[in-house]
């Protein structure tokens, strides 16, 4: 398929002018060859790469799960199922590995994208000598675009100041429409288009909006546009759903399809899914279903209320995923209508880390209660669910729900554990379907080759006839680690293209070699990051040599059910040694580098104490760019002009009723509402109306003590006069939202105080000249440093759940 062009150095050099130029046209010889619209070699197909978030091997019906995925099945029946595809056990790391063809630590993503770290394997800074394959495709003449979840841009560069080389366009996508964070509300997403915020869609003013529908429309629109402009130019679309990451948001008609389906509980779920997996042949007939770990309760041990709540959680989670299948199906239908589906390479990966265990055992009405250290009992979850609309509202915009970890474990049938747990297949193996009728002749076939997401990019380039470049933008490139599995498309017995692979995520380690798999899970339940647990892994305390390995032989034990470590100590030692060698080679060291904040490795203290916003045109500021008010005393001051007759509206709002704060004026009075992650709501109202004219209002929070999540007093003032007082017994220590922004002069998306929801975004009707945040760190430097460290530990803990 080579066209003779040297594609080893990108961008390709301009073609030389082989004509001649004289004084006149008559004296000149033209050469149209200088108009270089270099495309990929002839026959390079369109490519649709679909990645579903936070989903497990045992969920889609295509692989035996109970969630109806007819479109994925349609692709599998016209293409191939791969039951040996591996991921890294975490969102950003899998995405970084997928898009670069290199191991996640090598490209700086030993942890998630928001959280930069001081070790190369954990920096969230992709080295420039590791060009992503979409950039390679772009520089070879593909049209490229990404839609939906990104999660590879560090939090501190997510704003108008950039820099933008770490945004999607900088990774080789001509066009991006989606969200940068690790998750998004599906009802009110803050959408970025290329290098800036587009706007917040949906929310109280547009209840018909649903992100999966919109991103599908955008994808189809982009394909239509590219095709209309130049139908000879192949395209690459990366369609990355926010589904099935929390918050689990889906219209009721999708979740209600599953009413009653999960009433028998997660133990029965696993048994049934396992049986179907065997019927389908995606699990060998001699496979053994792994048992329920002690961390998960038996379904029959639950109260009736708990069973009903948890069953509804799974109904919503299932409907959410079926909707994702439906929306991918819309793209496929459109390609079929356009007559291009059969010559489009579709690679569909159902999950980037297995299903997420981060909902804890109870699940939550608000997924961010747990990361903020607000542990809620089942009883409290029931009460708060009732408060925010009951089971019928689960999945709607009034809550940000997550399901029980036990459902995630069930969703990873037949394997052990799930997300974060890179030592075991529950976190590292997900379904993959490849559809390409133009090449695949064994429609409906099964492929069992051990495959990893680092192999996907090299396979796509291989199929497109594009070589791995040795240089991109003048920078010599490191070799990719992935290898093409193109041979398996046409040959079920194609040789194993990958005989060895290491795994590591937050100290959970795995190593695969010629069928053997050694697994060492850090002795920590994935959703527990308490100081009591984490101190066990501190320098001077933690000795990885004391951690035990389990040993499995996958050709005989598909599910990792039979631990052979006791019988094979030599093999265990061999794989242990290999793991350390691979970890060093690919940058996974230091071990626990992704949790280093717990051990005192935190960024330098910032001296900045004032943040100023010069008007109501500051909108949708991302979480990484906001004033860090958590765990500090602070004052918000606003210089207003209030017209005769008064003004109403929001002065400043951050996030929403599931966690956030708003300073606003209603009925002429200054008000402050603070949502303690929806579990508690604190409100203060001024005793007197605001005056008109130039008015300086302020909200001061004075913390009781220099501790995490402090209580404290709130004082409202106008022109220096106290007009209201109140108290907040608890404050949010880590973050209000993973995706909702800070707005001056309005409250975009879901609102903080639902008392003004009917007026949303409730824009301020006066003039806002300036809003200032003054943050007062503790006077005691030691207390300041301790808070700084604790806060970063909390942020890191939160990011282990992204």
């Amino acid at each position: 398929m080579s066209d003779g062009r040297d594609r080893s150095k990108l961008p390709m050099p301009d073609p030389p002018f082989s004509g001649s130029v004289g004084r006149t046209i008559g004296d000149s010889a033209p050469d149209w060859g200088i108009i270089d619209d270099a495309g990929p070699p002839a026959g390079a197909p369109n490519v649709l790469l679909v990645l579903i978030d936070d989903a497990g091997f045992g969920q889609p019906s295509t692989f035996g799960g109970p969630i109806a995925t007819p479109n994925c099945t349609r692709m599998a029946e016209g293409g191939l199922r791969y039951n040996g595809l591996h991921v890294t056990a975490m969102c950003s790391p899998t995405r970084a590995a997928l898009l670069t063809g290199r191991n996640h630590h090598t490209v700086g993503y030993g942890s998630v994208g928001e959280f930069t770290g001081p070790f190369p394997g954990y920096s969230a800074m992709r080295p420039k000598d590791c060009a992503p394959f979409p950039q390679v495709m772009q520089l070879n003449g593909y049209a490229t675009a990404a839609f939906g979840k990104w999660h590879l841009t560090p939090a501190h560069v997510q704003g108008p100041a950039g820099p933008f080389d770490r945004w999607p366009n900088g990774w080789g996508f001509d066009y991006f429409w989606g969200f940068l964070a690790g998750e998004s509300g599906q009802w009110d997403p803050m959408i970025y288009e290329n290098n800036s915020v587009d706007r917040v869609y949906g929310g109280p003013g547009d209840r018909d909006f649903y992100l999966p529908d919109a991103m599908t429309d955008k994808t189809i629109e982009w394909i239509h546009g590219v095709t209309a402009h130049n139908d000879a130019k192949p395209w690459f679309a990366y369609y990355s759903t926010g589904c099935a990451h929390a918050p689990h948001h889906v219209p009721k008609q999708w979740s209600d399809k599953y009413k009653g389906m999960f009433d028998a509980g997660w133990d029965v779920y696993r048994e049934r899914a396992f049986a179907r997996q065997k019927e389908l042949g995606v699990v060998p007939p001699d496979a053994v279903l792994t048992p329920r770990p002690d961390a998960m309760p038996a379904w029959e041990s639950l109260s009736e209320n708990e069973k009903r709540l948890y069953a509804r959680q799974m109904e919503v989670y299932a409907g959410y995923q079926e909707n994702a299948d439906h929306n991918v199906g819309r793209i496929l239908d459109e390609l079929e209508r356009m007559g291009t589906l059969d010559d489009t390479l579709v690679i569909w990966i159902w999950g980037d880390n297995g299903a997420s265990l981060e909902g804890t055992i109870t699940g939550s009405f608000n997924e961010l209660t747990m990361p903020n250290g607000i542990p809620l009992t089942a009883e409290q979850q029931l009460q708060l669910t009732l408060k925010y609309g009951g089971l019928e509202a689960w999945g709607g915009p009034s809550m940000n729900p997550h399901c029980s970890a036990a459902w995630a474990w069930a969703g990873n049938t037949p394997f052990q554990w799930g997300k974060q747990v890179a030592s075991h297949l529950g976190g590292t193996r997900d379904p993959m379907v490849v559809h390409w009728p133009a090449r695949i002749t064994d429609a409906g076939g099964l492929r069992t080759q051990f495959t990893h997401v680092i192999d996907v990019g090299p396979t796509i380039l291989d199929i497109a006839g594009l070589p791995q470049p040795v240089e991109v933008n003048g920078i010599a490139q490191r070799p990719v680690h992935g290898t093409s599995f193109q041979a398996s498309l046409t040959d079920a017995r194609a040789p194993e293209h990958r005989t060895q692979q290491y795994f590591e995520m937050y100290g959970n380690r795995g190593i695969y070699k010629d069928g053997w798999w050694a697994a060492s899970m850090l002795p920590r339940i994935p959703w527990v990051v308490t100081p009591e647990i984490m101190k066990n892994f501190a320098p001077g305390v933690f000795d990885p040599a004391t951690l035990e390995w389990e040993l499995y032989y996958l050709p005989d034990d598909f599910t990792q059910a039979r631990n052979l470590a006791a019988d094979q100590p030599g093999k265990v030692q061999q794989l242990n040694d290999l793991w350390w060698a691979e970890a060093e080679k690919y940058g996974a060291l230091p071990l626990l580098g992704g949790l280093s904040a717990f051990f005192g490795v935190v960024p330098p203290l910032s001296a900045k104490t004032r943040w100023t916003f010069w008007g109501a045109d500051v909108q949708d500021l991302s979480q990484g760019a906001m004033p860090p008010i958590h765990n500090r005393s602070y004052t918000i001051t606003a210089d207003l002009v209030i017209p005769d007759g008064g003004a109403d509206g929001v002065i400043v709002a951050n996030a929403d009723a599931m966690g956030g704060y708003a300073l606003f004026v209603q009925d002429g009075r200054l008000r402050h509402t603070y949502s303690f992650m929806g579990a508690l709501i604190f409100q203060q109202v001024a005793d007197t109306p605001l005056p008109t004219g130039n008015v300086q209002v302020a909200m001061d929070f004075t913390a009781d003590a220099a501790v995490m999540a402090p209580g404290g007093t709130v004082t409202l003032s106008a022109n220096g006069q106290v007009i209201g007082k109140g108290r907040m017994d608890h404050t949010v220590p880590i973050l209000f939202s993973a995706y909702s922004g800070l707005d001056i002069g309005r409250d975009n998306g879901e609102v903080v105080d639902r008392a003004y929801e009917d007026k949303a975004p409730f824009p301020f009707t006066g003039i806002i000249e300036k809003v200032t945040f003054d943050i007062r760190p503790p006077a005691d430097p030691g207390a300041h440093a301790a808070l700084h460290q604790a806060q970063h530990q909390g942020q890191q803990a939160r990011h282990t759940e992204s």
Binding site: S303, E304, N305, R308, L382, Q383, G390, L391, E392, A393
Partner: protein
């Protein structure tokens, strides 16, 4: 006039059929004369927001707080519009004005409505304080409960107690 002291309990349920189960259990206790009540009501707000009410109490033939005789005591005090239409309907049209007045005076229906979103249910009972433990143990599937003492006799006292219980539930 009875000397019995009464409590009011409002129990909120996430699952309507569990509320019904507890309601039936409490009514059985009343029938077995293990608990003395002035009224017990089951309020169900179904998934579509349709409210239905089942009540018992007065037909048990006791004299206690001396209000609501001949009608549902709890319903009479709550009497939100939906309850009025569901329970009173056309058959007791002559009582509508009375219930409406109660609704307006008590102002309780908004709180009750907020506490019972679609797809949920509540049980309201006015019972002999001496059996508080039995009642609490019977309404075992409630996810929230709020209890207030009826401080004295008469409709105003009862409404006050009911209001207090509702406030506790909403908190």
């Amino acid at each position: 006039m009875s000397d019995t002291e009464f409590d009011v309990i409002i129990a909120a349920y996430l699952i309507p059929d569990l509320a019904e189960k507890d309601f039936d259990a409490l009514v059985r206790l009343v029938g077995d004369k293990q608990v003395k009540v002035e009224g017990v009501a089951l309020v169900i707000n179904d998934a579509d927001g349709n409210v239905s009410v089942k009540e018992t109490g007065d037909h048990l033939g006791r004299k206690g707080l001396e209000i609501g005789a001949g009608v549902g005591l709890v319903v009479g005090l709550l009497a939100p519009p939906l309850l009025a239409s569901a329970v009173i309907g056309g058959a007791a049209g002559g009582l509508i004005g009375k219930f409406t007045r109660h609704r307006v005076e008590s102002g309780l229906e908004d709180k009750m409505g907020a506490a019972l979103p679609p797809g949920s249910a509540g049980v309201v009972a006015i019972y002999d304080r001496g059996k508080a433990g039995t009642v609490d143990g019977t309404l075992i599937n409630a996810v929230r409960k709020s209890v207030a003492q009826v401080d004295g006799h008469g409709a105003k006292k009862l409404k006050a107690a009911l209001g207090e219980a509702q406030t506790g539930l909403a908190g």
